[in-house]
Amino acid sequence: MSTSSTVRDPGATAPGSTGPQRADRRTGRSLVGGRGGIWFVLPFMVVYAAFVLWPLLYGLGLSFFDTSLVSDESQFVGLDNYARLLGDSEVWRTLWVTVLFTAGSTIPLVAIALVMALLVQTGVRGQWFWRFVYFAPFLLPVATVVLIWQWLFSGDFGLFNGVLTGLGLPEVGWLTEPEMGLWSVIILTVWWTIGFNFLLYLAALQGIPDQLYEAAEIDGAGGWRRLFSITLPLLTRTTALVVVLQVLASLKLFDQAYILYRGSGGPGGSATPILQYVYDTGFVDYRLGYASAISYVFFVLIILIALVQARLSRRSES
């Protein structure tokens, strides 16, 4: 993550005197090769297998059955569930909502976090205060965040509409207009989670060695020049990391939208992410087999996105 450490590491191992000694120590008592290692890994593996691997396989199996939460019998239906979801317009509609949210939230969550980190890094007074203020919302539980924003967005008593009315502007149906439904979730999410990206960027900025800036300054580079020629290029790896993490986090949209609209999916269903459709199908309409099939299709899509991103970032590195 930090550029300085990757620069220093090869230099540290280069002197021949310390290298062999270290290698000797490793071959002597290695946890990796010995029989003891497994006992340290086992507790984690058991939990991982019971709560991740087994449900994953079980869910895949479920998707080939018409299993229902409220009925004792279930039958093998082969690929029927998958065939059915191709024709279920609600699957594609909610998937599109998720994609829109991901695009709409990732861009501000990366761009604004970078700007905030740069502003703090410029050396404003009271650094600790800005760091705290930007990061604090991230520490709040989702239910608290949504409760606060429900009041802010409220159509008749809300602060936002109060301010708009005060300025002589028309009120906005933040939670009631289909065009606004998803944007309200995006605004809330940006406020809530931007602190994490901000922190990643700030750490990366602090890892850029000062001498680069000093050298540039001696060569007569101004502030903007230093930003575009030193800071941003050295942040490329962090940006790639932040974008990957953010896209994956945004695709998981469920809790804030579900709580904000009390499970209704927002005005005209405009804020129903695909995960909510999976939840509703499986647990509200009791159709577990079909819900599993939808979630597996979504799972495959996420893997594809992750692979494409991995390839893109590898290409940019080379």
Partner: protein, 435 residues
Amino acid sequence: MTTAPRLTRRTLLRATVAAGGAALLSSCAGGASGGAVDLAYWNFFTGSDGELMVDLVEAYRGEAPGVRLTDTTLMWGSPYYTKLAMACAGGRAPDLATMHASRLATFGRDLLDEWDRDELAARGVTLDEFPQPVQDRVVIDGRLMALPLDTHPLVLYYNTDICERAGLLGADGSLSPIRSAEQMLDAGRRAAEVTGATGIAFGAADNFASWMVFWSTFRQLGGEMLLPDGGPAEVDRDAMVQAMTFMHDMCDGTIASGTLDGPAAPAAFASQQAGFLLIGPWEVTTARTAEIPFSMTQFPLLYGDTPYARADSHSFVLPSRVSVDPAVRSAAYDMAVSMLRNSLGWAAGGGHIPALSAVAESPEYLAEKPISNYRDAAQVVAFDPEGYFSGSGSTLMSRAGQTLQGVNSRALTPEQGADDLIGWLDQQLRLGSPL
């Protein structure tokens, strides 16, 4: 040093294990010697209804000191039904649970045990003591699947002070009868003139409130909705368009706001910014707490000749369990019957119409004003259509709510709204039933 008894790590561990084991044994013995029956009861009542439910539970605790009762209150709506269905499917459900009668279509098939009418008769309760429409709903294929506690229909609240100034009260001080949709809208307009804000407080942005008004008017218009597995839905589109037109006309910003949300509607009525409120009877607490001059009446006849009002019944069910302990089952019967018998406080405090005729016809209940004003609504209740995705807190209510909100906020015309809802119903039915 060496003579003193040393406390080594091993002795300490041994002593701890021994002490722990002894404590465990003694606690087991204590549990067995008590001989008490453990009874688990789940409900979804929070807020003011929650307090009334606690009274009912405490009353039973007083009657049955030998029963160790654990009552669990969960969040109302689909999360409750999800938890209950999962607990039932896992065979470890509570011994007694609360359920809306409208949800029996899903639960009644496999997840619940039927009530034994002889056991009930032995406790003095027979089926003919419940209103006919409610009986029809809780008996499935001749089996009594739920024991109704109450009926809670859509009702009309009115502010007597505002309505008097608007000239809407009769000589006896109660609301002059409203006999058509036009009269209802006109009453709303006149109340709005008095308040200077809106006439009718109505949760236009709330699924539940919107569904209640829609289903009542749709049924009054003679509308039927049949949801056969595989589809298509058999729906009266004209009645649907007309019911939505009524809601569209009502939410014109003067008669009623098109954007008021669920909690804001009773708040607007309680702060006298509206002359009427359309919601279930449970908001009587809000109006009483606000100490405003108000009364309540049955949802008026807007169309046709039967004043249908959308309603549901809180009822008790016996979730199926892997093994049933007869003593616990017997305690569950006792508790349910005890709560039915004590439902006067439940009715008086929460506005619900008691299901048991012994309570509903008692002079104490009839003396409870304004809540006994609308007791006749129990005979003309309109339950939600039968289907696995229908009922209180269901997908149908939520999805229909989306459409109705669109109509209320004028994002959709009534025709578009009807096509949207029917289109969704067809699609949902094509997916096939999970039952």
